[in-house]
């Protein structure tokens, strides 16, 4: 009887997992032990005239992480042992009765809901904290115990931040540059995708390799020469400097081409017979047939344009053409020296900067998901 229970336990997949956890726990605990030994050895060598910084430098990595390793190892050990006990004593009883099985099943559903909801709340917490902080007074922010709900709602942070930084200008710059970047990325991308998928001309494949190669060269590598190029054109602090270097996205060209390739040529031929030109074919045949991808690409292009920080930061040296993603960071420098007391106003700025994106995401998330599932399927 006992042997039988032990065998069922060992056949269970959970058992393997618990063993793996046990091994991990043993590894973590022994590493922690080594760390403790190392720590003691390092501490024995410490002389009085050493400063804290030097002590920290002289300690090896394991000694530094010894506490975390110990805690992690103990937690893993506890879970593993508790799981073993459950498998050995509780599981067989559950397996025997149908009612117990049903209870276990509904219990697991409840647990799933509870875990999922608490994780979602955890993820949403920074957003909640941002919104709630933006309604607090400066005194309330500095309370020794933070309040989860403001004692008194203050709305003055919003007008204050609008006064302290040219937020309206930031918004204007962001909207204009995002609009043109989106127009360029989608428009030029569509034409190029047409040329590379349905067009026929000598050297098409060579030029397409050029596009694929551009996928491999990120802005993060080439930004220094591009900065030099733009500054020589006197495009610093201009819309041209903000927009032109982001006007084409190799990724979108590639993605749209893959989609256009899937459209059968006969649709285009039918259009041609009716006297449809290239632009007509793109607008009336290809775009409607690839509508989900077109929408996804436009939304992602918009969001990327709105959130882009790297290039706008480099190209703007003053407020004139600063976008909101950069402006929000410079807001902190406007408040430099005041350290903490102005976080409520910064949070107000942050709230204003994410409202369009959050709205867009919540209403159009269906299309964003479509794009991602396609990317994942490839």
């Amino acid at each position: 009887m006992n042997k039988h229970a032990f065998r069922t336990m060992r056949q269970s997949g959970w058992f393997d997992m618990l063993i793996a956890l046990l091994v991990l726990a043993v590894i973590a605990l022994s590493l922690s032990l080594i760390g403790h030994v190392q720590y003691d050895a390092a501490m024995a060598r410490v002389t009085d005239e050493m400063v804290a910084y030097e002590i920290r430098q002289s300690i090896p990595a394991l000694a530094n992480a010894r506490q975390s390793l110990l805690a992690g190892g103990l937690i893993a050990l506890g879970i593993a042992l508790a799981g073993m006990l459950w498998l050995r004593f509780v599981s067989p009883k559950v397996a025997k009765s149908t009612r117990a099985q049903q209870t276990a099943k509904s219990l697991s559903v409840v647990l799933q809901y509870a875990a999922a909801i608490s994780h979602t709340l955890l993820i949403l917490f920074p957003i909640y904290w941002m919104v709630i902080s933006s309604f607090k007074t400066s005194q309330e922010l500095l309370l020794p115990v933070p309040t989860l709900w403001p004692n008194e709602f203050v709305f003055s942070n919003y007008p204050n931040v609008l006064q302290k930084a040219p937020f309206a200008l930031y918004f204007f710059n962001t909207i204009v540059s995002t609009f043109f970047i989106m127009l360029g990325e989608v428009g030029l991308g569509t034409f190029a995708a047409y040329g590379f998928s349905k067009g026929r001309f000598a050297g098409k494949n060579v030029l397409f390799v050029l596009v694929l190669g551009a996928l491999m060269i990120p802005l993060q590598v080439t930004f220094v020469p591009i900065y030099v190029l733009i500054s020589r054109l006197n495009w610093m602090n201009t819309f041209a400097g903000l927009i032109v270097p982001s006007l084409v996205s190799a990724y979108f060209v590639f993605m749209l081409r893959q989609n256009f390739l899937a459209v059968d040529d006969s649709y285009l031929d039918a259009g041609k017979v009716d006297g449809m030109g290239r632009v007509g074919a793109i607008i009336h045949v290809l775009i409607p047939m690839c509508a989900p991808t077109m929408i996804t690409v436009s939304i992602i292009s918009f969001i990327n344009g709105w959130n882009s920080y790297f290039w706008p930061k480099m190209i703007t040296t003053n407020d004139a053409r600063r976008t909101i993603a950069v402006g929000i960071v410079y807001l902190r420098e406007t408040f430099a020296g005041m350290e903490t007391s102005n976080y409520n106003e910064m949070m107000a700025g942050a709230v204003m900067s994410i409202i369009p994106i959050v709205l867009l995401f919540l209403f159009l998330q269906k299309y964003i998901m479509t794009g991602f599932s396609k990317a994942a399927m490839k």
């Binding site: 904290w129 050029l210 080439t222 900065y227």
Partner: protein, 403 residues
């Protein structure tokens, strides 16, 4: 080759043949293209390359002097000097446009009219990539051989000096340090995306309206701008008033000054990374899980496989292509990390979060050493390329694509 419009010879006399007059246009394009290209080449030789041919050095010097005079008077350059200065500033763009014009003219002459129109669709994109992707790559190499300081207009060529600094000089320890930090960050981001995403995908894998809403919220942080969320996390991680340290204090611990102390700054940045990327990994895994045929699970259930076994022998192998996709894209994206680090720590304190891109950025725009920044960029690019190629080569053999 099928017949297209251009191959049909017989048109009514009165109608304009499509593509008529293209020889004239092509000839004009070639002439203009050659002139523009020559102007660009002249400017490039005189300005960037500082060639000693003909009397270019004197011309360059006179343009530089004229620029200085104009700058001190606060006016733009005009006349011959203005043209020469513009030619030097826009040299490469002129060369690329001139070359493209000649290319277009050749295509116009050799390709049938319909095919030429197809070609015309891709020209803008090709021009863009030449100017903003490929030329910068070449320029990076050129700049890395100079001793260019951004605040000085003048520079000379010094050969491999920047590379010796990077590999044999004082730069080497920074390179190793920066690579170590970047790789640490990358490993954590990959763990968050792959392991966190997989765990969340299993947790959120339930068909119900409520779960759809929950998934949306978990996925959302990825679309909130990094700079904004970084500001929020700076507040959350604040040493004295931040909510995180209050929570730690509730459990009896004492949280550090996350972003201001060298040993915890990277952890602080990783909080933001965790918040942003786990939902993304979850979404990718969930949509891939939908593609696994349900009968596999049914067959396994009949054979008596329980949860972990079904996961181990069906879900995990079937998700291998997705995992590879996530691994490579996350690797490339996280090696380029800049935004969160720049806003939260600016590479500091000390050099504790000095990731590669941040290092290049600070070298170029804080120390103004564009030459060194260019050399680091190139080395970074090679590392990125090699690592990506190695990952792909190594994993393609181990992943089954049988779905």
């Amino acid at each position: 080759m099928t017949a297209t419009g251009a191959d049909i010879k017989f048109y009514p006399k009165h109608a304009m043949r499509p593509g008529a007059g293209k020889k004239t246009v092509a000839a004009l394009l070639i002439i203009i293209g050659l002139v523009v290209f020559a102007a660009g080449l002249y400017g490039y030789l005189a300005g960037d390359l500082q060639s000693s041919w003909f009397d270019l050095p004197e011309i360059r010097q006179s343009v530089m002097d004229a620029r200085k005079v104009a700058q001190s008077e606060g006016v733009g350059l005009t006349g011959t000097m203005g043209v020469l200065s513009t030619m030097m500033n826009t040299a490469v763009i002129l060369m690329i446009f001139g070359g493209l014009m000649i290319y277009i003219a050749i295509m116009l002459l050799t390709q049938p009219w319909e095919r030429f129109k197809d070609f015309a669709c891709v020209v803008p994109v090709v021009a863009f990539f030449l100017i903003f992707v490929y030329y910068p790559m070449v320029d990076l190499l050129r700049i890395s051989f100079t001793n260019w300081n951004l605040i000085r207009d003048d520079y000379g060529y010094v050969g491999l000096k920047n590379y010796t600094w990077l590999f044999a000089g004082s730069g080497f320890k920074y390179l190793v340090e920066s690579l170590r930090i970047t790789v640490t960050y990358t490993i954590w981001e990959i763990i968050f995306t792959l392991a966190g995403g997989m765990l969340l995908a299993m947790l959120f894998d339930r068909m119900s309206r409520g779960f759809t809403v929950l998934r949306t919220f978990v996925f959302m942080p990825r679309y909130i701008g990094v700079s904004t969320s970084a500001i929020v996390f700076i507040w959350i991680l604040n040493g004295r008033y931040g909510i995180l340290n209050h929570v730690i204090a509730l459990f009896g611990g004492q949280g550090p000054d996350w972003l201001l102390s060298e040993s915890t700054a990277l952890t602080g940045v990783l909080f933001l990374t965790f918040w942003r990327v786990t939902g993304y990994g979850m979404m990718i895994y969930l949509s891939a899980m939908k593609g696994i045929p349900q009968d596999y699970y049914e067959a396994a259930e009949i054979d008596g496989a329980d949860g972990p076994q079904r996961f181990r022998f069906i879900t995990l192998p079937m998700l291998a292509p997705t995992t590879l996709f996530l691994l490579i894209t996350t690797f490339i994206a996280s090696m380029k990390v800049f935004m969160s680090v720049d806003v939260m720590t600016g590479g500091g304190p000390g050099r504790a979060t000095n990731v590669m891109v941040q290092w290049v950025y600070n070298t170029a725009f804080r120390d103004f050493r564009v030459d060194r920044a260019a050399a680091i960029s190139l080395v970074f690019f090679v590392i990125l390329l090699l690592a990506t190629a190695a990952t792909m080569r190594y994993s393609v053999n181990r992943v089954s694509y049988d779905s």
